[in-house]
Assembly symmetry: C2
Homo-oligomer: 287 residues x 2
């Protein structure tokens, strides 16, 4: 039985339970993070802790000691005998008594950490590529907050899987703009390569400020000497791109088609592949 | 200790627990309803069951016997010795194993019903009025689904309460329109009275198809002989309205100011008050 961290204790997961009146269940009143461990070492712990702080600020949930999530994660890995895992962190506002939209002053947050075992990464292996489908970005407008309101992503990603695709690409008509633009993937940030430049949606609140996104932007500059533009692009521009990929904490994935339309020659792009290896280098070299 | 209905059993609420991996917690993958009971009788049970079905369809969660929620609610009232209550129904997709965005084919939905006691309604009492504040409607775009993704409403309603207001009024710039429009309240539908007509946002997917909303539209026609238009209006038009009110299953509430701007003479409007009593008549006469 896996061990989880749950409200101050390390316990068997079957004993880690939530009240039916936890605000996480009643109001999706919570935020989360996922941190990767490879060969026993966490990657980008600092940015994850910092983003958790920003998300908690975004939902006005004060008083959480975010610095403790690092040591809790480390101990969870040891207690489960894991070297490679994705550690899920969740903070909800907890059970505050009979259901009420109004957030009371005194709250008892619920904090849970779960370590999901992952296969060890072969840093010489090429990335797994696949097609994507576009999906209406029907999510809330504060996607910079990593909230648990993931139903739209869950539905769209499930639809993608049913269509044989590896990701959905969200497309949104933002107010005041004259066209629909690609925002990001269902659980990834989306990039295109175009005329030797790397393009991804700006960090303007409509996308998650992805930690792998930042790592790749830095790697594109530092390792490939490549210009990066944080700029909106349309689905049509994505279709016509030289290369397309999505990235998350888990992986970078070349996208070889969108809605059945083949991108470039249908193979993972050269720059995408270089960035994949640059990401793995950073994970294993802990730069 | 209150008795709740939980996955096939009537049990003490402290024993009704959810797994930390329930999709309701991980992905806000659930929908809900609230049904009122007055003097032992449910109001508008049929529309609540029908809306639950539509919501479940909207999140692609099949196989739920929605007809059973009526008898379960009735029994919950009896077991708790209640005559007046608001019965909360929640269906999530349940614990489907290790966290994954992808919805598996085999699921074990979690169903919980909680009866919250309510004070008996005095059908002769005037409604409780108050001010409102406007709030950016940052919610997802499928508000016709009564999903548990209520964090934006919880935050905005809490902000309203802090400001001494009784509700927040959501305002959204819908794609393709040239202005911001009032959609609805944080947990209510919003109405204005203007030149002898009742106006409320159309049921176009951007608002919840409120059951009280339908009752009041019907009552305005049938009891007051009043024209009703389902039409968008701006916050400025709301400010200039003759009367403003919001409604939910719980109550109809006259809104006497918005963002500190007094509406009309600052008193509950005559038509609003008539509709309040028409609503109570329908509840008690079960028309």
């Amino acid at each position: 039985m896996p061990i989880v961290y749950h409200n101050g204790r390390f316990i068997e997961s079957s004993q880690a339970i939530r009240s039916i009146e936890d605000r996480g269940l009643l109001f999706a009143d919570g935020v989360y993070e996922v941190v990767r461990y490879d060969n026993g070492r966490p990657f980008a712990m600092r940015p994850h802790i910092d983003r958790l702080k920003r998300s908690l600020g975004g939902i006005e949930l004060p008083g959480i000691d975010c610095e403790a999530f690092g040591p809790w994660s480390d101990e969870l890995m040891v207690r489960n005998g894991l070297k490679d895992a994705r550690v899920y962190w969740q903070v909800t506002r907890g059970d505050t008594g009979p259901r009420s939209f109004y957030i009371p002053e005194h709250i008892e947050p619920s904090i849970t950490l779960i370590a999901y075992p992952a296969p060890p990464v072969d840093r010489k292996a090429f990335p797994t590529s696949g097609g994507a489908i576009s999906a209406d970005d029907c999510r809330w407008t504060r996607c910079w907050i990593k909230s648990t309101m993931l139903l739209p992503a869950s539905l769209a990603k499930t639809k993608a899987k049913s269509a044989g695709a590896i990701e959905c690409i969200f497309v949104r008509h933002k107010p005041g703009l004259d066209a629909h633009h690609v925002t990001e993937g269902g659980s990834t940030n989306a990039f295109i390569v175009r005329d030797g430049e790397l393009h991804t949606h700006p960090n303007d609140g409509w996308v998650l400020p992805g930690i792998t996104r930042e790592v790749l932007i830095d790697a594109a500059h530092a390792s490939l000497g490549m210009p990066v533009r944080e700029v909106c692009f349309t689905l049509e521009e994505l279709k016509q791109a030289d290369e397309v990929f999505v990235c998350s904490t888990t992986q970078l994935s070349p996208i070889t088609s969108i809605d059945g339309h083949t991108i470039a020659d249908g193979n993972p792009g050269a720059i995408t592949t270089k960035l994949h290896f640059a990401y793995l280098d950073r994970i294993f070299d802990q730069q």
